[in-house]
């Protein structure tokens, strides 16, 4: 396809940003094709706004990828496809119920809590990096993260606690990695 050149700095950042967007999307959707589409869309949007986002591109891409993945989950839910019933081999995903709960819980979080949870637990960033990306203090990240994680834990506990990745996989405040550096 005939395309314009990548803006300065984008091509160098592309591999890491793509991997980040893909990881965030895949953890929610559990489908490689969907995650790839989401990562591409998030990065395309970053290109369009590159001048504004390049200094905080990682956080921006992770958050947009999470939002796009949640949107995709909602569309699937409305169409009743791909998320329930016995599926073929490519959805024989033992963590599918957990992804479903995760998407649902993320959707319900207040914006700031969701941003922190996405960056901290889906992008695997440190609290310091999350704080720098969001332009807030580490303490704010801790408090939003704790509240968001609490909501996630409750949502994931609503299901079968014995299932893989269920409630047992979500750390308790002060015990798991909530307060880890």
């Amino acid at each position: 396809m005939a395309t314009t050149a990548a803006p300065d700095g984008f091509e160098a950042a592309f591999p890491d940003l793509f991997a980040l967007g893909y990881r965030v999307a895949f953890r929610i959707l559990g489908d490689g094709g969907d995650a790839e589409d989401v990562a591409q869309e998030a990065l395309a949007r970053a290109v369009v706004r590159w001048t504004a986002v390049q200094d905080r591109a990682g956080g921006w891409v992770a958050r947009v990828a999470a939002n796009l993945a949640i949107d995709r989950y909602r569309r699937r839910r409305r169409s009743g496809s791909g998320w329930s019933g016995p599926g073929p081999d490519w959805v024989a995903d033992r963590y599918q119920p957990e992804r479903l709960d995760l998407a649902r819980a993320l959707r319900r979080l207040p914006r700031r809590q969701r941003e922190v949870v996405v960056l901290r637990y889906l992008a695997d960033w440190s609290e310091q990096d999350v704080a720098a990306s969001l332009g807030c203090s580490v303490g704010t990240v801790k408090s939003h993260g704790a509240r968001g994680l609490g909501s996630l834990r409750r949502a994931l506990s609503d299901g079968d606690p014995g299932r893989p990745g269920g409630a047992a996989a979500v750390p308790r405040e002060g015990v798991g990695d909530v307060h880890a550096p």
């Binding site: 396809m1 005939a2 395309t3 314009t4 050149a5 990548a6 091509e11 592309f14 591999p15 793509f18 991997a19 893909y22 990881r23 895949f26 953890r27 559990g30 489908d31 490689g32 094709g33 969907d34 995650a35 790839e36 589409d37 591409q40 869309e41 990065l43 395309a44 949007r45 290109v47 369009v48 995709r72 569309r75 699937r76 169409s79 009743g80 496809s81 791909g82 019933g85 016995p86 599926g87 073929p88 081999d89 490519w90 963590y95 957990e98 992804r99 995760l102 637990y121 889906l122 695997d124 893989p164 990745g165 996989a169 979500v170 750390p171 798991g176 990695d177």
Partner: protein, 470 residues
């Protein structure tokens, strides 16, 4: 903490991914620019409307200009006798603008009466050619086809092509024998008339594509091994609303289904309207396949009666002339260039079927109908197994259709399939379906027949055919 949800086979970011992102960014930027112009109001809004109108005309009606690029020696003149060998003497890569003889075409796809594209055999590889005069003259597009298609054996007929405008097109390849269920889906799209291609990475094999304007559907799945058996397979629908730049695998056509695939079997999509479509999976399951329909844009699918049954259970092809008018030709055992066939018709969207014709009598066109009300379908030629790109059935109306069976003649019916006769203008033309080629129509009267090494024929009234180029 969610590392257990990661993809152990996450793809690496590569050049292709980067191109896809930049391409999508271009479209986003263009859309934003258009919105801004529209919001500016006044004359800007008028200009935007004119631009949209021009786009509509350019993509669907008025033919665009010829392929860009520096014409090679010989370009600009009609291909003449001996052009095929001259074409093969052109070194690879074939320069844009190089004249391509019609005898090199292995299959054609037209976006309208004038604009068409074709895969052409060149030194054992495939190149893309285009025409803007209804197929009279063809030029190499230039650029590069995806390597999986470009390097494919031209005798295998491994790639299929569809264009919806002079610029937007789709290219896909059927399941490679013995690899379905493992291989990535192989579907590429172009928005620059085939000069460059963008790959869509489907979760499974891409079986068929149907596009109406910029609204494109692809059937993906793992139902056929191409060789022996697939169990617990599924078919899924991928859709794009922007000409193939971004795809969404939105849902199941068949979520979980045990079936038996045969070598060369086909899963095909037939779109009657933007929201109504049919998917036929032939040679799979019991009795001899699966027929699904949707009337809500692919959100939900309903199972329909699949009439093909033994002995006509080796494969089938479906064509539609309208929302509810379906034609299904089923193939049975074949031998020595002949195959038992049955043609079923439905006028209620597949809810019920009637046998319109079959070839249970002795081979030959003079055989009387085997039973009252059932016509005779020539046994000559194969409708199954499916050769990628070789759609054997084209339907113009509830009464008129053409059949170009592999290794058979082109035959036509004007009475709904009860009687079939060879197309007079094509008799003796050497068309035999043995080489890659196809039969395609863009309206009830305008169509083309191509076969590699033989040539290209064209009709504008559905009755008289004339040869194009050489």
């Amino acid at each position: 903490m969610f590392t257990h949800l990661d993809d152990p086979a996450a793809p690496a970011a590569d050049e292709e991914q980067l191109r896809a992102v930049l391409h999508r960014a271009d479209r986003l930027a263009a859309a934003r620019s258009s919105r801004h112009r529209l919001l500016a109001g006044g004359s800007a809004a008028v200009l935007f409307g004119a631009a949209v109108l021009a786009g509509v005309l350019g993509s669907g009606g008025t033919p665009a200009g010829p392929p860009q690029g520096s014409p090679a020696p010989g370009a600009g003149t009609a291909p003449e006798a001996g052009a095929a060998s001259a074409f093969d003497r052109v070194p690879d890569p074939v320069p844009a603008g190089t004249a391509v003889p019609t005898t090199a075409l292995t299959g054609v796809a037209f976006a309208g009466a004038d604009h068409g594209f074709g895969l052409a055999a060149h030194r054992g590889r495939l190149v893309l050619a285009s025409t803007s005069d209804g197929g009279a003259h063809w030029r190499a597009v230039g650029g590069r086809l995806p390597s999986a298609v470009r390097s494919a054996s031209t005798s295998a007929g491994t790639a299929e092509l569809q264009f919806t405008s002079a610029t937007t097109g789709y290219l896909w390849s059927g399941p490679p024998a013995g690899q379905a269920g493992k291989a990535d889906g192989a579907l590429w799209t172009t928005d620059d008339g085939g000069r460059s291609w963008l790959r869509f990475r489907a979760s499974r094999m891409v079986y068929d594509v149907g596009a109406i304007g910029s609204d494109a559907w692809a059937v993906v799945g793992n139902c056929l091994t191409g060789q022996t058996t697939a169990t617990g397979c599924s078919l899924r629908l991928a859709t794009s609303t922007d000409g193939g730049a971004v795809w969404d695998e939105r849902g199941w056509i068949v979520p979980s289904w045990s079936g038996t695939g045969r070598q060369g079997s086909q899963v095909a999509l037939a779109r009657a309207t933007p929201t109504e479509a049919y998917v036929v999976a032939a040679g799979v399951g019991q009795p001899a396949g699966l027929l699904m329909s949707t009337d809500d844009g692919g959100l939900t699918w309903q199972s329909r009666t699949m009439p093909c049954a033994a002995p006509f259970d080796m494969g089938a092809q479906l064509a539609v002339s309208g929302t509810d008018d379906l034609w299904l030709v089923c193939g049975g055992q074949g031998t020595a260039g002949n195959q038992m066939k049955a043609l079923y018709r439905s006028s209620d969207g597949g809810a019920s079927w009637r046998l319109a014709a079959d070839s249970t009598g002795p081979h030959g066109f003079s055989t009387p109908p085997p039973s009252a009300g059932v016509g005779y379908l020539p046994a000559q030629g194969y409708v199954a197994p499916y050769t990628a790109g070789h759609r054997v059935l084209a339907v113009a109306s509830p009464t008129t259709a053409w059949l170009f069976a592999d290794r058979g003649q082109v035959v036509e019916t004007t009475d709904g399939g009860a009687t079939w006769r060879p197309v007079r203008d094509l008799e003796g033309a050497g068309l035999a379906g043995g080489a890659p080629g196809n039969l395609t129509f863009v309206s009830g009267t305008t169509g083309w027949v191509a076969e590699e090494g033989v040539g290209l024929w064209h009709t504008v009234d559905g009755v008289r055919w004339r040869r194009l180029g050489r």
